[in-house]
Symmetry: C2
């Protein structure tokens, strides 16, 4: 069954996010997932692997959510869409988002997991970077632009959460955050 695997992953995501992965015993995860202690290890042969898989799962979820279904229009509109979707994801899935940050900075991930997770985003990053260099819309190094995009979307997510934004207000905020980025980058 793959259902059990998903149950365990979901339980892990929730408990890791709320209490910290370092502070969450595998027994608690199993219980929360409604399976026996030993069953967890049938699906994930060690806690390390579970942590890695949780990270990859979250990145996959994110990638699937933000990737523009209809790609091709102008580079700016593609970037706008990615920008929008990432912020929405961060606001709508606070547990996932929180855990993403936690694991990124925790020294808990194996190198393999980091590489694998990066590979998921290679497609998206490739499109982005190609667009940036082709159009040379912007006089900044591509890698710095990527950093800026990540950083400013994170700032936007934090602010949106702080004010518990929804619907129109959130959409307004997202638009404005993109303008701020776009004007800055075009300096």
């Amino acid at each position: 069954m793959n259902k059990k695997r998903a149950q365990i992953l979901n339980a892990a995501i929730e408990l890791f996010s709320l209490n910290g992965a370092w502070n969450t015993p595998t027994a608690k995860i199993a219980k929360h997932a409604g399976v026996a202690n030993g069953t967890l290890f049938n699906y994930f042969s060690s806690k390390q692997i579970l942590v890695d898989e949780v990270y990859i799962e979250i990145k996959k979820d994110l990638a699937e959510f933000i990737v523009p279904a209809s790609l091709g229009k102008s580079f700016e509109s593609n970037l706008r869409l990615l920008w929008h979707n990432y912020i929405i994801w961060g606001v709508r899935k606070p547990l996932h988002y929180n855990l993403l940050l936690q694991l990124r900075n925790s020294e808990m991930l194996s190198e393999e997991a980091k590489v694998k997770a990066d590979e998921i985003f290679q497609g998206i990053m490739g499109i982005l970077e190609k667009g940036m260099s082709d159009k040379k819309i912007v006089p900044l190094p591509i890698k710095y632009l990527s950093e800026l995009i990540m950083a400013q979307t994170d700032a936007a997510i934090n602010f949106a959460k702080l004010h518990q934004m929804e619907k129109e207000k959130l959409e307004e905020h997202i638009k404005r955050s993109f303008s701020v980025f776009w004007h800055g980058a075009k300096t």
Copy 2:
């Protein structure tokens, strides 16, 4: 003696940063600090308290480093200086910087430690926020500006590290990063 306390804190900062605080036994910290196991608990009554104190220590170090000695000129020049100093600090003290991010997202800090650490920055933030609202240089909410400042300086630190920047090149990069922010914010 306060020297021992400092030794323990420094050992903890190094080991926490490299291996993760969750993964660093108190015994290892004591050994690395050149004191006995029990001595650590004479200075920090629990590991939780040690972690909290490490976090506060780092924040103090940062505050001391970035605060403009000569304050008073224009708001923009003050902000420029804070911006500059924070990035320099992040680049020069990679262990401190790394651990700051790690602890922020780790669910390891007590609420009291977070509050105490925030208090250290209340002065700086106050000046900043007052400057922003007084001059109304910028049509964005103050809290969002703060988020943007933190986010964009972090991006600048990452990029500087990625390219192992130093001296003039680093200074150029810092200047540019501020321009990007400033132009964006004035949208």
